[in-house]
Amino acid sequence: MGKTLFAKVWESHSVATLSNGQTQLLIDTHLIHEVTSPQAFGMLRDLGLKVVYPQRTFATVDHIVPTDSQVSPFSDPLAEEMIQELNRNVKEFGVTYFNLASGKQGIVHVVGPEQGITQPGTTIACGDSHTATHGAFGAIAFGIGTTQVRDVLATQTMALSPMKVRRINVDGKLSPGVYSKDVILHIIRLLGAGGGKGYAYEYGGSVLDGFTMEERMTVCNMSIEGGARCGYVNPDEKTFEYLKGRPYSPKDEAWDKAVAAWRAVASDADAVYDDVVNIKAEEVPPTVTWGVSPDQAISVTDTVPTLESASSEAHRESIKEALEYMKLEGGAPIKGTKIDVAFIGSCTNGRLSDFREVAKFLKGKKVSNQVKAIAVPGSQIVDVLARKEGLDLIFTEAGFEWRAAGCSMCLAMNPDKLIGDQLCASSSNRNFKGRQGSPTGRTILMSPLMVAAAAITGTVSDAREVFGL
C-alpha cells in the first residue's frame, strides 16, 4: 500500500511519542517575524533557554513595515519598538535575519521560497497561519502559536497530533480569466471554512500539475481559510527547476542527491487517502467573496445570497450578519458593487507573476478617480524584479501607487488601512470583520486581475468583460 507525502514526512520526522500521546515532530526549518516572536524569545529568557539550532531559524520583518517609506525609526513608536525587539533577539540568539537593509526582506512566505529555504519533504513551522504556503514545494508547513514558536526555538521540535489527508483533485481546463486564486476560493466555498478540520490538504490533478510554483503557492496559502492545518502539492520538475540555484538550495553533488530524495518523498501513485474530493476546472468561475468568512463566496456573475436561501437557522443568522456588516442587499448582483480601495499584494498574490499578469491587461487603462489603488510587492526582490520589467510604471501610469514590500493592507498593522466602512477589492486572503484596519471596513476577496478590473470601473466587475478576455 502506497504512502502519502504527508505520511512519509511525518514518519521520518517523528522523534518520540509524548506522554499525552502526541508526536514530537522535528522541525527542519523555522521562520519568524516581528509579531509572534517577541513573546517567544521572552519566554526563552524567562526559562533560561537558548535557541538550540539557530542556523535553522530565519527571520524577516513584514507585518508592521510601512510601505511608503521603510526608513527606521518608523513614525509609529509601537512598530518601531517591535522591529527593535526583533533586531535585538536575532542578534542575541544568533538567527539569520533578512532585514530591511538586506535587499531580501519581505513577507515571510514570499522570502522562504525565494531564498530556496523552503524545500520538499521538509517540515516547516512559523508563527503565522499562512505557513501552509510553503506546502507548494511539498513541504509540510504549519502555522503555530507563540508558545510553539518558543518550543521550536528551544528544541527544534513541537508537539502535534497526527492528521488525516484529503486529496483534492482539480482536473480539466480553467476558463480564461480564472486563476489559481479562484480555484482556492472555489474549494473553500465548496468545503467550507471549517471543512478541513483535522486534515492536511493534498492538492493535485491536471490543473495543479499545470500551475507554476507561484500559482501553487496561492492555492496552498489559503488552506487555513478552508480549516486545514496544512496544504501541499507533490514536488515535481517544476519544483526542482524553481529551486535550482537559489541561495539556500543544495549545490553540485548535494543537488542531485536532494532531487532524488525529493522525487521519492512525493505521494505514491497508490497512496491511500482519508478522503478524496474531485473538482472540475470548467466549473470554477471568477470567484468573489460577499461576506465576512472566506467561504461566503460566489461567482462574480451571481447574486448575493438571500436570507431565504439559508439551509438552517444558524446559516440564516450568518447570512444576516454578513449582509448587515457588508451593507449588501440579499438577491442583488455582486457585480456593480461600488468599491473604494483596491489592494494587490499579500502572501497570497503579491508575487512577480501576479503583477506581471495584471500588467498585461492594465497597460493603457486608468484607475477610477473614486478608488485608491495600491500595489504592494511581497518582497524587496519581487519589487526589484518587477521594476526591472517596468511593471511598476505600468501600475503607476494606470493610477496605482507602487509601494515597498510588506504585508500592508492585508491586515493593516502598518499605516495602510481602510477608513470607516470603505470597501476594498483585495487580492489577500481574509475578509474578516475589521481585517483591513478599520473596525467597520469591508473586504471582498478576489484574484489580482479582478482587483484591477474593480479598480478601473470603481465597482466589482467581471475581469473577462473589462479586459475582453
Binding site: S19, L26, T146, I224, G434
Partner: protein
C-alpha cells in the same frame, strides 16, 4: 517545571453567540503591536465591544450582569482564522479559564490547550440551554469537570468532549509541552544528523 493539573473549571459563564468567530474578532490585529501579552485582556473582542469613540456597544462582555465570568460559551468553529496566540492570551487575560463551544478551529484549540485553557465541545442545544439559564441567572455556578466529561449547573448536566491528547495534557498537568520536548534532546540531535538537516 511543574504545572497545575486542570481538571475542573468552576465559576460563572457568559454567552457570546455566533459561528465562525475568528481570531481577528477576538483580538483585532492593531492591538498585536506589542512585545508582551500583558495588556491584551482589555482589547479582547474590542471592535464588537466598543464604538469608534471608545464607548461601549451592547455586547455580552460589556453587560455588568456577566462581569467576572470565567467560562465563555459560543457556537461553531470558534477561533478560526489566524494562528495568533494573542487570541487565547487576550481571553485568558480578560479572565476566561475555559471555553465551551460546538466546535473549535484547530490552531486556536491547540494554543488554548498549551496555555491550560480547556476548550470543551458540546452540543448546540446543550449550550443553548445553559445560555438560557445564565441569561435568567448570571450568578449561576457552572462547573466543567474534565474527568467526568460533563458540565454541571444546578441540577442539570450535559456531556462535553475533548480529544484524548488534550484531556490528558490538561488533567495530568502536562499542558505545556516544553518539559517533555526538552527531555528528548538526545533523540532530537540524532534525528537531525540522520536527516542531514544541519
Amino acid at each position: 517545571m511543574s504545572l497545575a493539573k486542570v481538571t475542573q473549571v468552576a465559576g460563572t459563564a457568559v454567552h457570546v453567540p455566533g459561528s465562525d468567530i475568528d481570531t481577528d474578532r477576538i483580538i483585532p490585529a492593531r492591538f498585536m503591536k506589542c512585545i508582551t501579552f500583558d495588556s491584551l485582556g482589555e482589547f479582547a473582542f474590542y471592535d464588537v465591544r466598543k464604538n469608534a469613540d471608545g464607548t461601549d456597544k451592547p455586547h455580552p462582555l460589556n453587560n455588568p450582569r456577566f462581569k467576572g465570568a470565567n467560562i465563555l460559551l459560543s457556537g461553531t468553529n470558534f477561533g478560526c482564522g489566524s494562528s495568533r496566540e494573542h487570541a487565547p492570551q487576550a481571553l485568558y487575560r480578560f479572565g476566561f479559564r475555559a471555553v465551551i463551544a460546538e466546535s473549535f478551529a484547530e490552531i486556536f484549540f491547540g494554543n488554548c490547550t498549551t496555555l491550560g485553557i480547556p476548550c470543551a465541545v458540546a452540543e448546540g442545544r446543550d449550550i443553548a440551554v445553559l445560555a438560557n439559564e445564565i441569561e435568567r441567572n448570571p450568578a449561576l455556578e457552572v462547573t466543567i469537570d474534565l474527568n467526568a466529561g460533563k458540565v454541571f449547573f444546578e441540577d442539570q448536566e450535559f456531556p462535553i468532549s475533548l480529544p484524548d491528547t488534550a484531556l490528558d495534557a490538561l488533567t495530568t498537568g502536562h499542558w505545556d509541552p516544553i518539559v517533555g520536548l526538552l527531555n528528548n534532546k538526545v533523540a532530537v540531535d540524532k534525528k537531525i544528523r540522520e536527516l542531514g538537516v544541519i
